[in-house]
């Protein structure tokens, strides 16, 4: 029992650390990708190739003066970024980061907890995330912040429906809500057991989920809550120092978690082609699988950035049009078609 607790504590620490590390380096990657896509070089002064840039940025955030506006609601003002950060970090708990490791005859699962309602938990936590933005924007007592917060909550509510409906089709297919079981169903992909990744069976569902994930993460083309051209800084206009840092950081953590969820649900998670045919040891398969999962996640993080530097922002009515009039009906049709195939 004690060893179990220690193992889980270590795992939580490792996942926490990796999440923060990847989020920190996503900020660096964002600037680099932006630069490369625009024929520039990007940050290259802090360390070789600017590799220490996240440290410099973090230090800058901590050293900056912390301003809490007089007219703001001080408790909620501090609570906002805390909730944003907390919920962003919580979603990583149910994601299976790898298969199982066997050490001295004991099996260790590389998933912090295998909830049987895993995907529902992710949805629940992600929808709490909007409270951070909403509370922060509201407590600022600034019209730009409030507008940003209202936009954020309206957008989240609209796109969560389409996201949930797109997942229902997938759940109808797999018959389970547990993320580990969904991953196990995609084992092998190519090789002796022909289990294709879910994206092959659910291309429309994947597309809807991807678009909604962009909206949930407030990423371009859905970054209306913080669009600089209209709302100064959006919900974080009044924030400074590390509280602003937390908001920006939470966005990158959300991006990482969404990439992980997309990889797990639609791209086989830690499975890789021919994994059971090369006669490898279980531990080696697990390690390669985990690396494979992180490669998939890295690709999706890159994809998020790639889209950001390609597509301009939606207008607000276009955003609502897309969410309510296109994605939701499409998701419902997708459910019907999946149901038909299930019967046949």
């Amino acid at each position: 029992m004690i060893s179990f607790l220690i193992y889980k504590a270590i795992l939580v620490g490792v996942v926490f650390g990796i999440t923060l590390f990847i989020a920190a380096y996503s900020t660096y990657a964002e600037r680099k990708v932006a630069a490369f896509l625009q024929d520039r070089i990007g940050p290259d002064r802090a360390g070789p190739f600017g590799i220490l840039q996240p440290l410099a940025d973090g230090l800058k955030f901590i050293m900056k003066e912390e301003i809490i506006p007089n007219v703001s609601n001080k408790i909620l003002f501090v609570l906002g970024p805390s909730i944003a950060m907390l919920t962003a970090l919580m979603a990583g708990v149910v994601i299976p980061w790898g298969s199982t490791l066997v050490i001295n005859g004991e099996t260790y699962s590389l998933q912090i907890v295998d909830l049987n309602i895993g995907i529902l938990y992710v949805f629940a936590v992600v929808s709490i995330g909007v409270y951070g933005i909403m509370i922060g924007g509201w407590a600022s007592n600034n019209k730009f912040s409030l507008l940003g917060a209202i936009r954020a909550s309206a957008q989240m509510i609209s796109y969560e429906i389409a996201m949930g409906l797109s997942i229902i089709a997938l759940i109808m297919m797999t018959g389970t809500l547990s993320l580990r079981e969904i991953t196990e169903l995609q084992t092998g992909a190519v090789g002796s057991s022909w289990n294709f990744w879910n994206v092959v069976y659910q291309p429309v569902g994947f597309l809807i989920f991807l678009v909604c994930a962009f909206a949930e993460c407030n990423r371009t083309p859905f970054d209306l809550p913080e669009c600089e051209t209209e709302l100064v800084g959006g919900y974080h206009t009044e924030y400074s120092s590390m509280k602003l840092g937390f908001y920006l950081f939470a966005e990158y953590i959300n991006m990482f978690i969404s990439s992980a969820v997309i990889s797990t649900l639609y791209f086989g998670g830690y499975n890789f082609p021919f994994m059971n045919d090369l006669g490898m040891d279980q531990n080696i398969i697990t390690i390669i699988g985990t690396i494979g999962l992180f490669i998939k996640i890295g690709f999706f993080i890159f994809f998020f950035m790639w889209i950001r530097w390609t597509i301009p922002r939606f207008r607000y009515d276009q955003l609502m049009n897309l969410g309510w009039k296109i994605l939701i009906p499409l998701a419902i049709i997708n459910i019907f078609i999946t149901g038909l195939f299930g019967i046949l």
Binding site: D39, R40, I41, W306
Partner: protein, 187 residues
């Protein structure tokens, strides 16, 4: 219609493929990914400098003659020619014993160019009858205040030991051009 480049704007209904946006998005991300592999246009300035033309018009120099005496006689033609009104000067008479410092009886006791006003057009150089002022390929360096950009004689006059080469700008063709009486500055 003058340029024949005006386009007739047609507001037509979008087709189904245009309406779902996806093909446009895919072609868009195709364009951006191409740029990922393109050479960046950046010049890393302090380490690398951009190549400039041989007759680049940069920071001015006030030339001395072969003996090291200042060529400028404070005639003021450069100040008159200057479209940005960046040049000011105060003339003074040469005293006895200063023959080695100044070439002619009159010289500029102060000569200032405001580098923030200057547009580096080179008209001062064209107007100068004494071949005294030239633009060089040096860049005007940055400063924190506006005062630092008013360059006096200390920064403009070349030092005797460290002459600044202006042969690229002072070609025989240029000298010939300056002697043509047709142009107003030589009348």
């Amino acid at each position: 219609m003058l340029t024949n480049r005006s386009k007739l704007v047609v507001k037509k209904e979008m087709t189904f493929w245009e309406k779902i946006y996806l093909p446009a998005i895919f072609s868009g991300i195709g364009i951006t990914i191409k740029h990922l592999f393109k050479k960046s246009a950046t010049v890393r300035y302090p380490e690398q400098t951009r190549e400039v033309s041989e007759i680049w018009r940069g920071q001015h120099v006030l030339k001395r003659d072969e003996k090291g005496a200042e060529r400028c006689t404070a005639c003021g033609l450069c100040a008159v020619a200057c479209p940005a009104e960046a040049i000011t000067m105060v003339a003074a008479e040469r005293k006895k014993g200063e023959e080695k410092l100044y070439r002619e009886e009159k010289y500029a006791s102060t000569y200032e160019i405001n580098m923030l006003r200057c547009i580096f057009c080179g008209l001062c150089e064209e107007a100068c009858p004494k071949e005294a002022i030239f633009l060089t390929d040096r860049l005007v360096s940055t400063d924190y205040g506006r005062d630092g950009f008013i360059y006096g004689k200390d920064k403009l006059v070349e030092s005797v030991d460290n002459r600044i080469d202006v042969s690229k700008r002072q070609t025989p063709a240029v000298l010939q051009f300056k002697k043509i009486k047709l142009f107003s500055h030589n009348k």
